[in-house]
Subunit: 314 residues, 2 copies
């Protein structure tokens, strides 16, 4: 299942608005086929894996990171029906589908067809791999990552606004990779006016992955941008990367809309300068504790990247 | 020699104003004695090791992290004479002594007595282990460590000044251990008035290691404290720990007086609050780069400690 979960991550962010699912088909201890949700959401992971397996799927075991769908759509058949038709003997499922059109119905349909079903295997890990889709499905908002690139003393620019460059090449390239993994990016009005950022993905081969651009503003959006009056005003994407500045970052934190922090930190001191965050509405220092846990830490050249996740994440 | 250097660190900070030296005596591949500069500066490392070796020192090899002294003092004999008297066959030395009373004279005296001398072995590592003494000896100022305890966004307190607690128990205990390893601690006037900090070492068994207390002020010092009008005003200690606040930290950075940064960072966000540093006189962002290199990084409970050293350190 861990391999199927790793595979499921390949579907991000292209599978949206469908969940990014991974599927492995195993026969006599050998992996004979694999699939993940393709760009645009179809084919589903199971359909892709079954197409690869062909007749060999008969009697095999399918590992799926999300309960196979039970509903027929105009765009394709239900995956539970496909698994039954292919004659698989056993289906191992990580997470149950919260979509009310499936939510247990996929499991029931497989069992009714005489297939052995095992479920709740690495369910939390599978949900984490689908966090964008899961968050939007269950909370009605995008899974949101806040990116901060600061000096050791937490500054994002000098007092005159100059911020080129705080972090080095490798940290900036990593930031572009993160852009490619998000459906949308947002900046505040100040950052837009100061930098007029292109926010595109400047990595060879990934230019087409440049995400939709949101501007946090009560005013009109410039050409090519979408305006969002508040953090709650973005409901039609699964994954959002908030790139700054301090006001936009603080607005998302104050609204408790941040699921993941990307902290790029350069080994420099700036002193008097612009802070990474504005007022986030913290009433007491004690309230600040216990909200974030370190999920990853690595050196990117001489910069350090620390990734924190909210402790109450899916 | 690496073992002798590790041993030399035991002399810090008690050996001041003498250098913290380590000495190993090896005979037929076995370590038969060891010594390091004792509290108050005497006995010297070589004297301590030779006393432990006794007659077994005859024909042995002595590893010393600093050139043995050539000058007789009222407090004891010259170590080069002690090594000659003990009949050692070979002396391996890391760093040459910059003290003009020795500076090569110790090596010459050993060689004149027919002892084989090897020097410049791991000299940089030995100097780093003696950094406080070396810095004061060569630059006439204390080796200075700046401690900052911040949130992920670089805040040292909320806007109302509340800062208890940002970091957790383990980070604070580590901070007390650092205090015990310094001869003196300094805070600024604002920190003194807000916190009236005791600045003592609150670790069992190390209470006697509480360092001298300096207040950065143009005014008078309170009872038990010494006043320093500027960072250049502290010349009679080898090692200084600057504990805050933002103004004192910035004054030492602006004067280029900081050799080592201790950054304790808690996994919390504060937003609007007090910055870790005031104006450090940075004219251009490009000037901020290349000054610090990561020397150590560790987790202390849920907090992270990063230790940075100036790139041009001894």
């Amino acid at each position: 299942m861990a391999a199927a979960i790793a595979l499921s991550r390949r579907g991000r962010p292209g599978s949206a608005p469908n969940p990014n699912v991974g599927c492995l088909i195993v026969r006599e201890g050998r992996m004979i086929a694999r699939g993940w949700t393709q760009s645009g959401g179809r084919p589903h992971a199971e359909a892709a894996a079954l197409a690869m397996a062909g007749d060999a799927a008969r009697g095999a075991t399918a590992y799926v990171t999300l309960e196979p769908c039970a509903h027929v759509s105009a765009r394709g058949p239900a995956c539970s029906d496909l698994l039954i038709e292919a004659g698989v003997a056993r289906v191992v499922i990580a997470a149950q589908d919260p979509d009310p059109r499936t939510d247990g119905a996929g499991i029931a349909r497989l069992q009714d067809a005489g297939i052995e079903v095992v479920f709740n295997v690495l369910a939390a890990e599978a949900r984490a791999a689908m966090a964008p889709w899961w968050t939007r499905r269950t909370d009605g908002r995008p899974f949101t990552t806040l990116k901060l690139a600061t000096s050791l003393d937490g500054r994002i620019a000098r007092a005159d606004g100059s911020s080129r460059w705080i972090t080095g090449d490798r940290a900036r390239a990593h930031g572009h990779l993160e852009r490619a993994q998000h459906q949308a990016i947002l900046v505040g009005r100040g950052t837009y006016e100061a930098d007029a950022p292109a926010l595109d993905v400047r990595l060879a081969g990934l230019e087409s992955r440049s995400p939709r651009k949101y501007l946090l503003t009560r005013g009109a959006a410039p050409d090519g941008w979408t305006a969002a009056a508040s953090p709650d005003d973005i409901a039609d994407v699964d994954s959002l990367l908030v790139e700054g500045g301090a006001g936009a970052a603080a607005a998302f934190l104050a609204a408790d809309r941040v699921d993941r922090l990307l902290l790029y930190r350069a080994p420099i001191l700036i002193g008097d300068g612009r802070a990474a965050l504005g007022d986030i509405g913290l009433a007491d220092l004690a309230d600040a504790h216990g909200r974030w846990r370190l999920a990853d830490s690595r050196l990117l050249g001489s910069d350090r990247l620390d990734v924190y996740e909210r402790t109450s994440t899916v």
